[in-house]
């Protein structure tokens, strides 16, 4: 019945399985949701989406797929604040259209046109797998200067959307935090170590048990000892050169010090944004590169991916083919980022710059969006939050 809806969801990255689809159909059969669009929406959401981070995508697909359902759209439209509409009107409607609306003289008409315009543009915009399309087709322009664009998504369905986890993280105030220096490096290391050594449990200490049982006159005396795990595998991608020079030392210092703590730690370098090639030795970056595809194929999805970079560059280096400052890249940085993130689902970006500067840099905003908010400062708190994210292991 809703096979098209399910495949639309899958295209957007909400991996709905047959089982879940049948659950939804069964729910309908059981009359959990009866003659009510909202109930149907709730039921579909509860049965098809299992991750609050995907609810947003689900909402978008739902809105597009069930476009005809007036009630839903009524509800969504009603929540767009009026001043925002006016702003949009100026932005999206041409002179003639505005004049026409003046002649018609109705806000309803205005909203209708706007809605069509938005639907149309969202459709085109979301065609890609990520929010960042190529510049011309996105309604939100070159992303850099459109905080409004981002708010569009939130305002339009705020009511039905789970609070995004990453939204909350964005506001983390770092005033009280210390920049990571030599003094705090040890502390950070301890956190990394704790992470690497995680793993609960109890293991039978056979030698100890035999000893204790003998000492106990033959009565069994079990001895347990904590298990030691060290199975974390880390793939570290370091931004090097240009604006990163100020930070590269402390970043490298931190992770090379941590090397002993991980079972596997592999380091590659990139410049500004990863493209089709990475390199291991920065001095020989031009003659000894490794294709990114090869790196992705070498290390399995259980590897944790950590980017370290200041995410400061021209936005075109992320969004456009040929945007790289050093060479001609056939595919945009965002494409490569998306591939990497698809392969290594457990990934974070550590940014040594002051987080207060992130929002002022469009490339940092862009990358944070690509990372779905998983960008953390190189401070104790930031590291802790980042490692916690990695620990959750997607």
């Amino acid at each position: 019945m809703f096979a098209g809806f399910v495949s639309a969801l899958r295209n957007e990255g909400v991996k709905v399985s047959l089982l879940e689809y049948l659950m939804l159909l069964n729910g309908l059969k059981q009359q959990v949701a009866l003659y009510d669009v909202e109930d149907f929406y709730f039921l579909a959401r509860a049965s098809l989406v299992k991750d609050e981070r995907l609810i947003d995508r689900f909402d978008r697909v739902f809105a597009l797929y069930f476009r005809g359902l007036q009630a839903v759209h009524g509800a969504i439209l009603a929540e767009i604040p009026e001043d925002w509409l006016k702003q949009l009107a100026e932005r999206f409607l041409t002179e003639e259209e505005r004049a026409a609306i003046q002649r018609l003289g109705g806000l309803e008409k205005l909203m209708e046109t706007l809605r069509q315009r938005l639907m149309e543009q969202q459709g085109r915009h979301e065609g890609g797998s990520k929010w960042i399309g190529t510049a011309g087709t996105s309604p939100f322009g070159a992303y850099g200067d459109n905080p409004e664009g981002i708010r569009i998504g939130q305002a339009s369905s705020r009511r039905r959307r789970a609070v995004k986890v990453w939204d909350k993280r964005e506001f983390r105030d770092l005033d009280g935090d210390v920049e990571l220096g030599t003094r705090t490096l040890k502390l950070a290391l301890r956190r990394l170590r704790r992470w690497a050594r995680e793993g609960e449990a109890d293991e039978l200490d056979l030698g100890g048990t035999i000893h204790a049982t003998a000492a106990n006159g033959g009565c069994l005396d079990l001895q347990m000892r904590p298990e030691r795990h060290n199975k974390v595998k880390v793939l570290l991608l370091l931004d090097i050169g240009g604006s990163m020079d100020d930070y590269i030392e402390e970043s490298a210092q931190l992770f090379s010090a941590a090397r002993a703590e991980f079972k596997h730690l592999e380091t590659y370098y990139f410049h500004n944004c990863p493209y089709e090639a990475l390199w291991r030795n920065n001095r020989r970056r031009h003659d000894q590169t490794t294709p990114t595809i090869e790196v992705m194929n070498t290390y399995g999805p259980d590897w944790k991916l950590i980017f370290v970079g200041d995410a400061t560059m021209s936005p075109y280096e992320i969004t456009e083919p040929g945007g790289s400052v050093e060479h001609w890249n056939a595919e945009a940085g965002a494409v490569w980022m998306a591939r990497l993130l698809k392969r290594f689902r457990s990934a974070i970006w550590i940014n040594p710059r002051d987080p207060r500067a992130w929002d002022g840099t469009s490339s940092a905003r862009l990358l944070r969006q690509v990372m779905e908010g998983r960008m953390y400062p190189l401070t104790l708190d930031g590291l802790e939050a980042g490692l916690k994210e990695l620990q959750r292991g997607r």
Partner: protein
Amino acid sequence: MVPPVRLRGIYMTERPQTQRLRFASTDRYIATRDLEVAVNASIALERPLLVKGEPGTGKTVLAEEVARALGLPLIQWHIKSTTKAAQGLYEYDAVARLRDGQLGDEKVHDIANYIKRGKLWDAFAADTPVVLLIDEIDKADIEFPNDLLQELDRMEFFVYETKETITAKRRPIVIITSNNEKELPDAFLRRCFFHYIRFPDKETMERIVAAHHPNIKQELVREALHLFYDMRDVPGLKKKPATSELLDWLKLLMIEDIPLEVLRAKDPKVVIPPLHGALLKNEQDVHLFERVAFLARRGQ
């Protein structure tokens, strides 16, 4: 290969309508419409409901209230980091048996004496349907949910020691909460309904407060909510106060009989609200809030 599909739900439609259990907001627990739908879907299809959300938004309370509203007993299984899936089914205390064997106890001949029932067994063995709460499933080892797949799906398990199969007499209503500390495995998620409890908006919050403190003065609530949402808006709080903290705070305000004026007061000396200890749980947050409040006052 197409996975085997179980069509249990389809037969259930033949059940008379009156028998079906339905959950709705109660006088004590305010559930939003989406939560009601999710709970009812999970009851109707007899599948677990996974509830996530900020701490303090009423995930655990939900199970209690579902049990109360439906008039069913509640079995709670609180998960710790050391909890193993098998402990929910049963535990065979081999060490005790060995010891009894050494001491020549008669009990030792019957292995059943050393099998301790777990919470799932209790739930399966109950004659009436029960509500089973598996609380904070993310605390356990990452493989924990996978180990419970069959048991929650089929609602049966096998006891190796006594060679018996325990099957649920009536399928329990399973509610699972998670604080999102670990990602749960896909195979597990696919078998659940999912609901994310959002932080309630002001309107819902007023209903929640009214449900908990029916005799409270309306103005006090309004002022308190105002302060509360302001507080949540302060960026950078390590732990934002949630519903449960608000309810505690209101209770304290009522007990201490704090007059309305105090909440409203713009006295520059008193920068943070009275009894803030109920809302802010660590001193960094208190300091941060003091600073922000102080700056805000100065700006006025």
